[in-house]
């Protein structure tokens, strides 16, 4: 099995995550695009671990998973707090620092 196939799938998922992060205006979907990018990176790490037969990349992927869980929980808590104030989850309406 060609290792480039796994890396190509990971690259496509990463670019999809970047597109979602840049183009979407809903806060929750932006956070989900970040999770998509992190998963693409994890897939790259595991593919390279298989190519070089090194378990260190598995441990790094494990840490990335734990970090993604922590970051998504804090991000979603922020979404709840902002929604309680502004009654909207649209980032275009959260522009009080603008100008």
């Amino acid at each position: 099995m060609d290792p480039k196939a796994y890396l190509t799938v990971a690259a496509i998922l990463f670019v999809l995550g970047v597109e979602g992060f840049i183009l979407r205006r809903n806060m929750i979907i932006i956070l989900m695009s970040v999770e998509l990018m992190l998963n693409a990176v994890n897939l790259t790490l595991v593919a390279f671990a298989r190519m070089n037969l090194d378990m260190d990349a598995h441990v790094v992927a494990f840490f990335v998973m734990a970090l993604a869980a922590a970051e998504s929980s804090v991000g979603l808590a922020i979404v709840i707090a902002v929604f309680r104030l502004k009654r909207t989850a649209n980032v275009d309406d959260m522009a009080i620092m603008k100008g």
């Binding site: 480039k4 990463f14 597109e19 695009s33 734990a66």
Partner: protein, 166 residues
């Protein structure tokens, strides 16, 4: 056989990723993202990483997506609010062009890789034994620091989301 499973999992993952960013309703996005996570867990199994596949399902599909769906439930906006999200055609075009450009760069870099995949893995590669030994021997300090980071995240999330009585 491996190629067949890889094709199925990659189509699942890419379609799930596309619908995650393309659907207006965040609940549909969350369901698509769960499909992507399951497909990636399948690809971890193909890559001789069984314990990471289990952790992927446990942590991502089992914990993070449940948290996201709870938050969508708490936010609880009607469908008309989600349909109001508009992207201008100019911004969409520029975004897609830049995305294709980034994908081109990544694929060019991937094309220049010449490392072959060894056909056999050593005994126990990717298993819980090997992962535990590597984690607690070479990566002990990062492991302890990640525990503190998770504690900080828990405290921070509770403080941010709690209702503070004035």
């Amino acid at each position: 056989m491996e190629t067949l499973f890889f094709t199925i999992f990659s189509i699942m993952a890419i379609a799930g990723g596309f619908f995650t960013i393309a659907k207006k309703n965040p609940l549909a996005s969350a369901m698509s993202l769960t499909i992507t996570f399951l497909a990636i867990a399948g690809m971890y199994s193909l890559l001789d990483a069984p314990i990471l596949a289990v952790f992927q399902i446990l942590v991502y599909a089992g914990a993070i997506m449940v948290l996201v769906i709870f938050v969508i439930m708490l936010i609880n906006q009607p469908d008309e609010e989600y349909a109001k999200e508009k992207i201008g055609r100019a911004r969409l075009t520029v975004g897609i062009v830049l995305g294709v450009f980034l994908l081109g760069i990544l694929l060019k870099v991937i094309g220049s890789i010449n490392i072959p995949m060894p056909p056999d893995t050593p005994e126990g590669f990717g298993g819980i034994n090997q992962l535990g030994l590597t984690l607690f021997r070479s990566y002990l300090y990062p492991f302890e620091i990640i525990s503190i980071l998770l504690l900080v995240a828990i405290v921070g999330a509770v403080i941010l989301a709690a209702r503070h009585r004035q």
